[in-house]
Symmetry: D2
Subunit: 370 residues, 4 copies
């Protein structure tokens, strides 16, 4: 198989990359602001920094910048911006020069594209995603000590984005050029890459690349302090009789070693609740590579990944607000090679026998074959 | 459909029932004592009270009687006894008279059938299960304060048994006559009962009846103090590359409101790890009835039940040590009516629309249809 | 020292004791209903079953009887009733006969003394406490599954009462005659008893006797599921700037092995938040005796008990609503023998050296001598 | 009062500061290697990377560099090095030039001063502390996924150091020049600084300055994932009857918002167990200033700080291995102004009344006046 990333590599610009601090917020389009408010504020407990009839600006409990999520009312659910904070005002200039050299469409707005944010650059990046870079931002109260506002499922921090792109190695090189460290990836023995996790702040990721038709947004992840906070969100969604919006989990990831839950907002945008990955800030932090056939890679307990998690994702907008067209993945699909008819996954590598008497499971988890 | 329990009801004896305190221990036959020891002692951290080449006697950290589980070496995995402690020595006599009037085969052993237990009665009960009743028991150290022995997944108490029997209402009446309270059950609109939970101590159950071909042992459940203890057991099983022995969960039960995990021992005996149900000790404690088509009844988060959980269970022995023959369930099967081709389950009762745009889910959880 | 309990023992009645199920609710007098509501409802999250301008009826999340706490407005903070549920209507009659034979003042009200409770008996018991016994009660929704109502510090159950009485052995015999099991106690080598824990339901206690001038109410305890629920209550009280109402803890008890916190309501009534003691329901459950000089008995981590915890308690009312006079404790006081000038407590029994180099601590915890 | 930091400021070198990644390990001298091993390995569960008769090299479960703690056998308990990892080999050169310009004694060892570490610089820094900087290090297995090694109190990461120094503002400027961000501090209305927290990695600190006679090491802190891990360490120390080594806590810090515990090793070196502070990586991260008279600053629940926590600390060694002489603090002491005779602390700022009826507490926490 020809490795697609060799076909059309993204060149590294000659100018320096901006110094990116962290993923900072996402702007998403939702079709019913009231329903979305109910989900993000009443169910999940995000804090409203500002709201009007067209948009709601939300933040997590430990955040001190204006927002981590903008819900904008629109006719079609989509993602308008993946926004990163950079280290200084000059890094916005650097980002502009960087993307211009890449030949990307860019737009600069000294007053910010959204409330609370100052001088910003938006680009259609080489992978087709609407990316934003800013430094200037309105400070708001960090509510870390305001425990009277904490619910049992308290979201304290925006942790990461996750993006669907057809050619993961191509995207990975682009992010490495931008100064991201690759912390983990999923591959097979044919050297196909199925996914990669890349970080600026010293956690496992600020964003990740999931192989599939793209550009699409796979999920946005908020962090809690403890695992019981995540379990409570499930309990509450059960009590509210919206357990069908629990898509996958809760569980322990293999990749990242974090505890996770995937839920769906009223428009089907996927939200991850996430806690307890590890420090990755050293430049020689070892990259962990997982075999796509290791059935503990996505769930350390071997629980199966539901197909919708592989197939569904949110469309993204270009800088004119139009839905970006999809490019098909040409590499093998992780879903096909792991839960399809030809799939082979193992619990114990090389294991040819079931784990207990009378069971021809070959190290598979029961129920995987559903 | 003719309700089978009317065909062959178990009569209530004229003599008083024994005063049963609680489920106390189970004696199970395992085929490889070393492998079982690795599972129960090294993985789960049960404490060895006594062991020799034929048997291992295990207890939980807060127990003060000799054991909660006996592993006996044998040629075929099975269950030899479901053992209950009664309030006084005289209650063993009462049990003997009670089962004799029921026409059951009984056996009395003044020295106990197993080490650590004194005067005991064993019976083949009307449902075909090997039941034991005893009062006399050797006291051992309650290790509640010995935190140096606690692992991260500390099992502190035996909580309950679960038995598979074809005719749940017939079994339920038998347990009510024996003095058990029915705390919860699962039914449908045709008044078919799929399962029932019955208690002597004031928790949700000391045993439960699961509809299916029986007599078989569905599972034995140990309690932990907190949910993170259960999550850790999963994490450790992942680390030991035995995640294929995690059969179902972890999750929140609808029935019992407890947090649960089902795992399989090396012989396929099913163990539940369980925490945080509610007090049921008042005589007028309300019975909770769940609709079999409520997809939050078995998992409050709507996660699907794997088929093996419905179909697999351990055989039980008669008092001669022979495997008891099975009686087929004639009522509808919970698996068939909920995950089979005709199944219909709901998240929101009466909901005819999906929970989000463009999704014709009718309140089903995604992935359920796998 | 003459052991005071020999002077004036309470005789055991010839009639049978009522069959007591559990401590069920306490009725307390508060001086400012609005302030108390803020504490019990807004801070602690108890659920209002009913309220009017004179009283608020509160229950825990897993309760199905009308209430676990009644706040009644009055001129002076005090306790009006310690109320227990009995197994049957006839047990109220039995209680009446039992206390009449004891020569106690009794009052019977077929309609209940408070809303939601039917036929009840109130007595001034031999220790001077206003005790109530009832069976009939209005059922309300058990909110166990209503996770949307759970806060991060969710109180799920009333666990126990704690009473201050001058002569602990005298009180202990009275409770044993009433059918309570003694689960734990604190003594010294002179056979002075400083405290005792007694149970009807199979936990460590339904009430406890703390040696001191009495009758007074030491505390009422509500249970949570997990320790983090208790920590959150502290965090929230810090955020609300009422941390001066955190009197003692959080910590791990030696006695009961439970995790605890003591806080003070606006009138100074002491509330314990409590989780995870052990099963005590067997008749031969071993009684644990602690040495008063073991500095891990009250806090397993050796953290010091603040003097107010020993000295302060709520006064109780007689059946006319007058504050009951105090009888002085004549035995030694636990505070004096453990934190007074003559106190000697140990971490390691018999230890004569400090736990580390250069420290003449003799096994004392640093800071204890404050 | 003359502000002492103006007397003798440490000048900022003209050469660039090294790019410091994080605090990486501490080398401490212990007097009994076997006793220390028992504490750090058997009680706390740190992992041995290497050991011989003179030293033990320990790491946390998520670490991938050779060690986070070196225990070296010696005649007198002390600290030999506070060691930081820098971003590149060249940053060790930068550190050397930087400290030489400061006039500090430096020592360079291309083979490292301890096993597992390559080219290193050690200095006696301007505050008198033995500081080390290195980049080269032996990688070892990150045990994050090895849950079979996790105990219930699993330490996953080295979090920070804490140093006692007489003149906090002087030290603070020195750290800011070195590129640290000040995240929090404690001051009074006379502008006396009692403590400051400074960070390179984006947590609340890599080290902190505590005002007092110095140079001394106040504590070294290891992180756990959850609060229950910390509570378990207390439970286990109780079970091992070493609760007198629990010096302070567990509790919630005001400063840092983290959950904490302070314990003492067999030589009296203070170890903090710490979890869940917040992200501080943005350059404009707001500095939080606490009033020294706010009694929630050190413990959010208002629990008193034991005097030993203020007064005791470990001596440090110079580069010849001799104990460094102490310089006395001339500013006011935090202990004196908060728990001494003249102390005034508040729970509710400006509150002149007690929090409940009849209590003249003026917002003090009960027990504070012990």
């Amino acid at each position: 198989m020809t490795n697609p990333q060799t076909v059309n590599p993204i060149p590294k610009p000659s100018v320096p990359a901006p110094d990116i601090l962290r993923c900072a917020y996402m702007e998403i389009v939702v079709t019913d602001l009231a329903k979305s408010r109910e989900f993000y504020v009443d169910v999940l407990g995000l804090v409203v920094t500002y709201e009007d009839e067209n948009a709601i600006y939300l933040r997590t409990l430990e955040e001190f910048i204006h927002h981590n999520l903008v819900l904008r009312k629109g006719p079609e659910a989509a993602v308008a911006a993946f926004s990163y904070r950079v280290r200084s005002p000059e890094d916005v200039d650097r980002a502009e020069a960087y993307y211009k050299e890449l030949g990307c469409r860019t737009e600069r707005n000294k007053d910010g594209f959204v409330r609370g944010i100052g001088d910003s650059l938006r680009v259609e990046d080489p992978l087709g995603f609407p990316y934003e870079f800013f430094y200037e931002v309105e400070h708001v109260d960090r509510l870390a000590w305001n425990y009277e506002l904490y619910g049992a499922g308290a979201l304290v921090r925006l942790d990461h984005f996750n993006q669907v792109t057809p050619d993961v190695p191509r995207g990975r090189k682009y992010f490495e050029d931008l100064g991201f460290r690759v912390t983990e990836d999923i591959k097979d023995s044919d050297d196909v890459t199925y996914a990669a996790w890349v970080a600026r702040k010293p956690t496992v990721h600020d964003t990740a690349l999931t192989g599939g038709d793209g550009p699409r947004m796979h999920h946005i992840a908020f962090a809690t302090h403890e695992k019981h906070n995540i379990l409570y969100i499930c309990d509450k969604m059960g009590a509210l009789r919206i357990s069908d919006r629990i898509e996958r989990g809760p569980g322990r990831h293999g990749v990242s070693n974090a505890f996770y839950l995937y839920i769906l907002d009223p428009d089907g945008h996927r939200i991850e609740i996430y806690t307890q990955d590890y420090y990755t800030g050293d430049p020689d932090n070892p990259t962990v590579t997982w075999d796509v056939h290791d059935n503990q890679r996505r769930d350390w307990w071997g629980n199966p990944v539901v197909p919708s998690w592989y197939t569904n994702a949110s469309r993204v907008l270009d800088l004119d607000g139009n839905v970006k067209e999809l490019v098909k993945r040409e590499d093998k699909s992780e879903m096909d090679v792991t839960i399809g008819a030809d799939g082979f996954s193992y619990t114990r590598e090389g294991d040819d026998e079931g784990s207990y008497k009378g069971e021809a499971s070959k190290g598979f988890k029961l129920g995987n074959s559903l």
